[in-house]
Symmetry: C2
Amino acid sequence: MVKQDILRNELRRRKQRMTAQRELILKIFMDSEDEHMSAEEVYRKVLDRRLRISKATVYRTVDLLSDVGLLRRIVFRDGVIRYELVNKDEHHHHHIICTECGRVEEFPFDLLDDLEKLIEQSTGYKITDHQLKLYGLCSECAKKKNNEKTETDMRKATK
Amino acid sequence: MVKQDILRNELRRRKQRMTAQRELILKIFMDSEDEHMSAEEVYRKVLDRRLRISKATVYRTVDLLSDVGLLRRIVFRDGVIRYELVNKDEHHHHHIICTECGRVEEFPFDLLDDLEKLIEQSTGYKITDHQLKLYGLCSECAKKKNNEKTETDMRKATK
DNA sequence: TTATATGCAAAGCTTTTGCTACGCA
DNA sequence: TGCGTAGCAAAAGCTTTGCATATAA
């Protein structure tokens, strides 16, 4: 089933309506290379495409799409709420964020099912979701940092 | 070494200064039962204690203390940046958040060191930190939800 | 036809910034 | 004494809200 139909069905179930705006915003996520967009960034894409959708509607819609389960809310250390398309059949994935340039990549390993069970037993929680974020330097920024350090050391050495 | 001295040393290294405000804000974290405070919440504690520290300074200071490594930034799904005291000697811990009542608990298991190495190899990142968040229902909220559900089912059955 | 959704503008938050005065090293 | 800091107030985001108008079902 295509995502538009999922949306339409889910909306019907909730007595809400399928609108051009909702479909277009969903489409933006489907077309987007950028995996993780804040509401603000989505709105910028709306403007780029010369679509007439107000900012308020964008905010309301990404929220709706998340509630419906078509988008997933993710938050990195900067505290900005971003959204990514949920692919039901996809393996649960996680994020690795470069603390220098902000680049975000995904990795597909999900080795946490056992851990989850362990925690359920020891805390009494009923766990529904987990999110793992790794922070570090991407290879480029690590290289750059290393060079800077070397230069500084050399300056010191020649003083 | 006590945390004040760590701060003082770290500041000296960066040619920054030890001030009464910085020490007081650090102290608020050390005294606090509340493990996870936003800048706003810290500011409220400042007022509670009748301290004369401006809101801007609180924001700047929690940020500074995080950069220095005395605080750790943590962000849950609500997108609010919170801070917690870093205890160098403590086991790396993670958080489990109840999606119903917002309660946050910690769990000490950290089984991710191997995973971290694996990811370093496959992505070329130099990983410096990781944060795992589990979301679910705490035992109380799970119980409450279960009762509600049972009642609804009973109403339906007797209709 | 009518309840829901949109657009617009304004309000509400949290967070950052510019500038002057202050104070630590 | 000089440079990093604090305080204040204003600006800057980002997000939500109220209300009149438009529109899907």
